[in-house]
């Protein structure tokens, strides 16, 4: 953990007394923060507490209302993005901020050339420079592919490469590991170690607390825009961090809702096969039951639910909902059959970022809000929107705020609201709490339990083992496209799932 006493190294970067408000919302209230060379500083806090905002102010993307930033002894009232980059600040943004229309190689090198105030673009040196950093990280990405064609994980890796290519003094990583596999995460951490030896200051934002405590030397916790505590990471453990973040004790134990295990199955899947993705998958889910599906990234766990939702129609197999066989050739079929799906990549698949919370909430369930099948029932729409806005405790000034202005975790709640508003018979969720803080995570799981108690069948795809243990009656483990283990009842424990994954 911490290698030398913090006081020995002077901070390379200080943000002093930063205040930032958006309209009436105070995103940051007199926050002071510093990053030291050779240290990893973890910035933690609930969704919407202002972590990303602080990063955007230091990187010059947002202007603070007051306060100042000191980099290497030089004080700035505010910075422009170019000044910040030249001063040695690099950011891996939560939403990546890549250029979807350009190649991976160009994405990696372009910003460095902007910062160097280049006038000419040296197309020839683009590929070798990008190749060098990709090789150094031991990655396998197609440098000529356009970023829009990449998976989320590869986009995240591209953003990481871009931040590392210039000789940065401070690197901010805003939830850099949400889409990465375990091996990719460990090679990122190995790299973080190497950067630390080169005396780079790193700032790490994550909701995975073990990860945070494992890599960082310093820790700062924000709550509702204010600084709660800052100090050496070795002074904290999971419980104290959670307590500082939420202001209360969060219980993360196994806690299941009741359901009738003898009832007729709501969903029964038999011999479902999608060539190249998964084979001969069979399972049943009863009303009120919460089923977990887990597996390593790329095991086919996501494809199973995506196929049930009609995104990649299965080649063979039968699916019954409430005993009736259904055809799932398209998303419309799936919705008609009573399925709802909360996708893993919420920013690109689940939401319309420039539309309001209200519009997004109602977007999947317009048909349920019609009078005589034609006219939109405005009163009903408004009451649905209000109900979910309050029930899911979405943190925003009001329902007309665009989703883009929400913090990452709050955007996730909007996706959930969108599908709950449609009141599906089977709700499938892929990584429902990725990027959600510990406190809200329990709240979201509670919402799922409450929906299940009302009779909804729920399928949770996740690689977060404690989450599965906490909420699932049964867990299926998928390996290389097949269901290899089924763990049920009291056997659902973290070691059992871990061993299923490893077997």
């Amino acid at each position: 953990m911490s290698s030398e006493p913090s006081a020995a190294t002077a901070p390379v970067l200080e943000a002093r007394h930063i205040v930032k408000t958006y309209g009436g919302v105070t995103a940051l209230d007199d926050v002071t923060f510093e990053a030291r060379a050779g240290h990893v500083h973890c910035l933690a806090g609930e969704n919407g507490c202002g972590k990303s905002t602080l990063i955007k102010i230091i990187s010059g993307v947002e202007r603070p209302d007051s306060g100042s930033i000191v980099i290497d002894g030089e004080e700035y009232g505010h910075l422009t993005p170019a000044e910040a980059i030249r001063a040695g600040v690099q950011v891996i943004y939560q939403d990546f901020s890549l250029f979807p229309n350009l190649s991976v190689a160009e994405n990696i090198v372009l910003t460095a050339q902007v910062a160097d105030r280049k006038r000419l673009f040296s197309a020839g040196s683009t590929r070798p420079r990008a190749q060098a950093i990709v090789d150094e990280l031991g990655l396998d990405i197609d440098l000529d592919a356009r970023v829009e064609s990449l998976s989320v994980a590869n986009r995240q890796l591209t953003a990481i490469c871009r931040a590392l290519i210039s000789d940065a003094k401070v690197i901010f990583m805003d939830e850099p590991t949400t889409a990465l596999t375990r091996t990719e995460v460990s090679s990122l951490f190995a790299l973080v170690e190497r950067l630390r030896e080169r005396n780079v200051a790193l700032v790490f934002v994550t909701h995975k607390l073990e990860e945070a405590l494992q890599v960082s030397q310093d820790l700062t916790i924000l709550r509702s825009g204010s600084l709660v505590v800052t100090g050496p990471a070795s002074d904290f453990d999971r419980r104290s961090v959670t307590k500082h973040m939420t202001g209360r004790d969060v219980i993360e134990s196994r806690h299941l809702n009741d359901y009738d295990a003898t009832a007729a199955p709501r969903l029964s899947v038999e011999g479902l096969t999608l060539s190249g993705a998964f084979r001969d998958v069979s399972f049943e889910v009863r009303p009120g039951e919460i089923l977990g599906v887990t597996g390593l990234l790329g095991s086919g766990r996501s494809e199973i639910v995506e196929s049930l939702f009609g995104i990649y129609p299965a080649g063979s197999g039968t699916v019954r909902v409430d005993g009736r066989q259904v055809r799932l050739h398209s998303i419309t079929d799936a919705i008609d059959a009573g399925f709802g799906y909360v996708p893993s990549d919420r920013l690109t698949e689940g939401l319309c970022l420039d539309k309001s919370i209200a519009d997004n909430t109602i977007s999947a369930s317009l048909d349920r809000h019609r009078r005589w099948g034609i006219f939109t029932d405005r009163g009903k729409v408004a009451s649905t929107i209000d109900r979910f806005f309050t029930a899911l405790r979405i943190k925003a000034p009001d329902v007309s705020a665009p989703v883009r202005s929400l913090s990452g975790g709050n955007a996730q709640r909007v996706v959930l609201a969108k599908w709950l508003a449609n009141d599906p018979r089977v709700l499938m969720l892929n990584g429902p709490t990725v990027g959600v803080d510990v406190g809200s995570k329990e709240e979201i799981l509670d919402i799922l339990r409450a929906q299940a108690t009302r009779g909804m069948s729920i399928v949770v795809v996740s690689d977060d083992v404690p989450e599965l243990v906490s909420v699932c009656h049964r867990v299926l483990v998928v390996r290389r496209g097949r269901v290899t283990h089924e763990i049920a009842g009291d056997d659902v424990t973290a070691p059992a799932i871990e061993s299923g994954l490893a077997a």
């Binding site: 229309n101 350009l102 006038r119 197309a123 190249g276 993705a277 095991s299 097949r482």
Partner: protein, 342 residues
């Protein structure tokens, strides 16, 4: 690591290959229908009618790449050319003076667009619709509404200058000298788009404006330069138009925006921004000119030509939407045997 498939390379980054294919099909069909089509005189006349649209399309291309849309370029073109002709009068002033004067006017009008768009961050379509009407009004009200047949000497002379004259079937087929500056402009714009940071900033901004800002691109400055440059290109195009038609009519060009935009979109530029190439644009312009020319050759009334251009625009956009859908298809993790074996 995957290597590009040869077929994909032929198709080109922006579907240029598809446009070439369509172009070939049209040429073959037309030649069968009317062998006159492949005569030098007809080919040269297609090239001649493509000169001005190509210059204007280069400007439109840059705007579309940056994620905007400009409908004021035709107004700027005729404003710059007509006012230059009016101010200089039928007498002297060399070609260079005319060119500089027109470019200054074009740059000034483009700058107005650039300032409004970049500082007020208004939608580009609305801004240029407004300025276009404004420029046209100012031109007619303050500069002149008369048709001018007496061009400045230098222009009148240039109007009849050819680089190549080939006798073909009794008459002489002439290739106009403007092919040289137009080709040079194409190369220049290609180089700027692919080899300067400003050019790349247009692609970046068109891809994701917020990401471009975060990457430190001087986006306000880049947009001001962009619309000014488009103004200059429009002025050059306008001057060429007046020279080629041997008279200056303040009502000309305005109204042909759609043809140019259609050509650029057909050439693979995405109306959502971030995508497009000079090669595709040139091909798109040719395709539209050839189709219009063919419709005339086979005797279709000119009202239908407008409808044809509209249909072509829809086709171009439709193809883009379809191919966007196709590329979003997913590749699964395993080959089939692996799943079976596991």
């Amino acid at each position: 690591m995957t290597t590009r498939k040869p077929l994909a390379r032929l198709k080109g980054g922006n579907n240029e290959g598809v446009v070439v294919l369509v172009l070939l099909v049209v040429v073959v069909l037309m030649t069968v229908a009317n062998p006159e089509f492949l005569s030098f005189s007809n080919l040269f006349s297609i090239v001649r009618s493509s000169l001005v649209p190509t210059v204007l399309a280069l400007g439109v291309l840059m705007v579309i790449i940056s994620g905007g849309i400009d409908v004021s370029f035709t107004a700027i073109a005729i404003f710059a050319a007509y006012s230059t002709v009016t101010w200089v009068g039928p007498g002297g002033a060399g070609a260079v003076v005319l060119l500089v004067l027109a470019c200054v006017v074009g740059a000034a009008l483009g700058l107005v667009n650039g300032l409004v768009i970049s500082t007020l961050r208004l939608p580009t379509l609305i801004v240029t619709l407004g300025t276009s009407t404004m420029f046209k009004g100012v031109l007619i009200a303050y500069i002149g509404a008369q048709y001018i047949a007496d061009l400045p000497e230098a222009m009148a002379r240039l109007g009849n200058a050819n680089v190549l004259s080939i006798p073909s079937g009794g008459e002489v087929a002439n290739l106009h000298v403007f092919v040289i500056p137009v080709a040079a402009l194409c190369v220049l714009v290609w180089w700027v788009l692919s080899h300067t940071m400003w050019g790349r900033s247009l692609y970046a901004y068109g891809g994701d404006p917020e990401a471009a800002r975060r990457a430190g691109f001087p986006v306000v400055r880049a947009q001001i330069i962009l619309y000014t440059a488009v103004g200059v290109l429009a002025a050059v195009g306008g001057l060429m138009h007046v020279t080629l038609s041997r008279n200056a009519n303040p009502q000309d060009l305005v109204g042909s925006e759609l043809d140019i935009i259609a050509a650029v979109v057909l050439g693979g530029a995405s109306i959502f921004g971030g995508r497009g190439s000079v090669l595709g644009t040139v091909l798109g312009v040719f395709l539209i000119q050839i189709i219009q020319n063919s419709l005339i050759l086979v005797g279709i009334p000119s009202v239908w030509q407008r409808a044809a251009v509209g249909a072509i625009l829809l086709l171009g956009v439709g193809v883009q939407a379809l191919s966007a859908k196709r590329t979003s298809r997913k590749v699964f993790a395993y080959a089939d045997e692996e799943v079976v074996a596991a």
